[in-house]
Amino acid sequence: MKIKHETSERHVLTVLVDNESGILAKIAGLFTSRGYNIDSLTVADITDNHAVSRITIVTRGPPAQIDQIEAQLERLVPVHKVVDLTALGPHLERELALIKVAGTGEKRVEALRLADVFRARVVDSTTSSFVFELTGVPDKIDSFIGLMRELGLVEVGRTGIVGMMRGAEAA
């Protein structure tokens, strides 16, 4: 007997939750205990009184499983609202990355030139290194990192995705 795998879709979900202790463990644990995937997860509180946090989760699964994920998240008491941005329509996805590159001579110049093309900002520099700050869709960050690999990439830090619907309305 062989284990079967189903084809899956990538979805970006935003989740509004009570900012209470253990909530992140609850959500992360829900994904592991029910066998769902997490590609990326970001969280930060978004209200003045720190009462509510917004979580953006990028997940992958067959369509029926994506629907289940939404339902299972909604079932948690501290969860107020779950929105599937991918299902809802045109939306933004942004990620921030810090990328450290070390090198001298032509490589260093080329790194700076490419950073300009990608609109990455230099947030730290020494005579032999840069730290770039880059925001954008994950693909853009991937390709920038790919280029830097040839030019002396030292270290990468990425935030994971934050998403939001386009247009005037709240999702």
Binding site: M1, G22, G29, L30, S33, Q68, A71, V77, P78, H80
Partner: protein
């Protein structure tokens, strides 16, 4: 008026405010302040169990038989981990529990202190919600919210972990209702459009089946009444899951019996051939559906459930209605109005043909007690007492479900979802406390009963006249049956060796013990059990190789049932073996 009280006192006041009659618990280091507050308090009766798993199951039995939440109080570490099986059981069967666990003092949390366990972490995925309370000022509101969450929406266990210093420290206890956040507001009503669509589907179905579950019982007695009313108005045949037994009278002409793996032939065939399935408060569990791609292939499906995540989880449905069973049933009845039932005579004639298979039949014996016969006689001789029946898990549980007849909700206590051996006796203890004048019987197996046998002491201490009726076949019968049917009778570790003498055991605990060894002793033995005013163990020695049929083998569809007398290969392919 407000006054300074300790966390432990605030907890006790909170429980009293919620109308708690019984707390099922076991003391230990991290709950000593709470036990001190309970000392001499006559408003709450503490039931001392012998093992924390017993406390959780007893609270479940109390909750299931009374409709009120069960309350558990255990200490940190092993107290909490021992109780966790019962908590997980309540989670899967949607039983309202509030579980209070002691925790080491806040400054010791995370230090691997004596009897420390990460109770909130361990219980995270087997509770509906859980809390670690770090300030006694939050206790009153937390308790209030915990009871609300446990008892509304889809019921379930809620755990409150209270560090020892929080029990000792003081806070202001205000009179009146605590300030709760009211953030939990489950949807209870179907939309008018959904109800109208459902009525159209029901009215036009040629071969409808109502498939109902534990949700109808959980929704309260009104849901049962409304279900019967809707069935009467529509004339549709009805089957229930294991958890739904009692919500429909077992002698009704449209009653199909239980469905699923050990359900009746007529119930499963009706599900397979139906053109409309109305699922009410059930969740298409794998024990019910059998092979998914062959489940009810030609039917339109309506699913009424209070938990949105139950819908489309296993089986995709055509019309989901998220709502409370009683509320939605009332909406359906109102929308049905004065319509006449459709002519279902052709459908019912087909069902009657399936009934003639007599799928619950079993071989007779003049000497040996057949376990099915034992349950049938138990039913006949106790039915006028309208008893509460609990079970353990295994063959005896299925025989009880098949051969005992249920007419009312809340009279049938069994571990359905988690399938916890050892559930039955503590559940009977909880049920007896909640229903002191009723006859409470645990139909048990010789293996299961040993999993919480220590609770005999609890029944003795509180003078609870529960009856434990053991169908003793000297095997873990269901395991043995599967090994016979799928592993060519290689009985790996399923023999119950070194069984205790249950009669002597009963006597050792101050119970009455009876042993029944052949058919001629059966009726008198059951009568003697009922007539004894105290707790009784009946060691009913039954045929040791009886199997529980009908049976849908793992990985098979509803039409591939095995009945008594069928030849079974004794092997199974890997795909089917993996399904179990």
């Amino acid at each position: 008026m407000s006054e300074e009280r300790s966390g432990a006192e605030i907890l006790v006041e909170g429980l009293v405010k919620q109308g708690v009659e019984f707390v099922f618990g076991y003391p230990g280091g991290a709950v000593l302040p709470i036990y001190d507050s309970l000392f001499g308090d006559e408003r709450i009766r503490h039931i001392l169990v012998r093992h924390e798993a017993g406390a959780a199951h007893a609270a479940e039995g109390y909750a299931r038989s009374t409709g009120k939440p069960g309350v558990v109080l255990v200490t940190s570490g092993p107290g909490a981990t021992n109780a966790m099986t019962g908590v997980a059981d309540a989670f899967l069967d949607s039983i309202p529990l509030v579980v209070i666990t002691g925790q080491v003092a806040t400054n010791l949390i995370g230090s691997d202190a004596f009897q420390e366990a990460d109770t909130v972490g361990i219980s995270r995925h087997c509770t509906k919600h859980n809390y670690l309370v770090k300030d006694p000022a939050e206790l009153a509101a937390t308790i209030d919210e915990a009871f609300q969450i446990a008892t509304t929406g889809r019921p379930g266990p809620v755990l409150i972990d209270i560090p020892k210093d929080v029990q000792v420290a003081s806070a202001t206890l205000h009179d009146g209702a605590p300030q709760r956040r009211n953030r939990y507001t489950p949807r209870t009503e179907g939309s008018a459009d959904e109800i109208a669509q459902a009525i159209e589907l029901i009215a036009n179905a040629k071969a409808p089946v109502f498939y109902t579950g534990g949700g109808v019982v959980n929704s309260g007695p009104r849901a049962t009444e409304l279900l019967r009313e809707l069935q009467a108005k529509t004339g549709a045949p009805l089957t229930t899951t294991l958890m739904g037994l009692g919500s429909f009278p077992a002698d009704h002409p449209d009653w199909l019996g239980m469905l699923g793996m050990h359900g009746t032939y007529e119930a499963n065939l009706a599900m397979n051939q139906a053109d409309l399935i109305v699922c009410i408060g059930a969740r298409f569990d794998d024990r019910v559906t059998g092979r998914l791609d062959a489940f009810a292939p030609n039917s339109t499906k309506i699913h009424i459930d209070i938990d949105r995540s139950s819908i489309n989880k296993v089986v995709p449905v055509d019309l989901p209605i998220v709502g409370d069973c009683a509320t939605v049933l009332a909406q359906l009845l109102e929308a049905w109005g004065k319509r006449k039932p459709a002519d279902l005579s052709a459908w019912k004639a087909r069902i009657d043909e399936w009934r003639t298979r007599d799928s619950l039949a079993f071989p007779k014996s003049d000497i040996e007690i057949m376990p099915q016969l034992a349950v049938q006689r138990l039913y006949e001789l106790t039915k006028d007492r309208n008893p509460i029946i609990s079970t353990e898990v295994g063959q005896h549980q299925m025989w009880a479900a098949q051969h005992y007849q249920f007419f009312e909700p809340n009279r049938w206590l069994t571990s359905g979802g988690l399938g916890t051996m050892g559930y039955g006796m503590p559940a009977a203890i909880g049920a007896q406390l909640g229903n002191p004048d009723d006859l409470v019987i645990d139909i048990a197996g010789d293996a299961s009963i040993q999993m919480n046998i220590q609770e005999m002491g609890t029944a003795t201490q509180y003078r609870l006249p529960i009856k434990v009726f053991i169908l003793n076949n000297r095997w873990m019968g269901m395991v043995r049956q599967w090994q016979e049917l799928t592993y060519e009778s290689r009985y790996s570790q399923s023999y119950s060796d070194s069984l205790p003498d249950f009669v002597k055991l009963a006597e050792a605990y101050g119970w009455k013990g009876l042993r029944l060894e052949n058919v001629s002793q059966l009726d008198d033995g059951i009568r003697a059990m009922i007539d004894h005013p105290g707790p009784v163990i009946v060691d009913c020695c039954v045929s040791d190789e009886a199997n529980c049929f009908p049976m849908i083998p793992s990985g098979a569809s509803h039409v591939e049932m095995i009945l008594y007398g069928d030849t079974v290969a004794g092997t199974m392919d890997d795909e089917a073996k993996a399904l179990v």
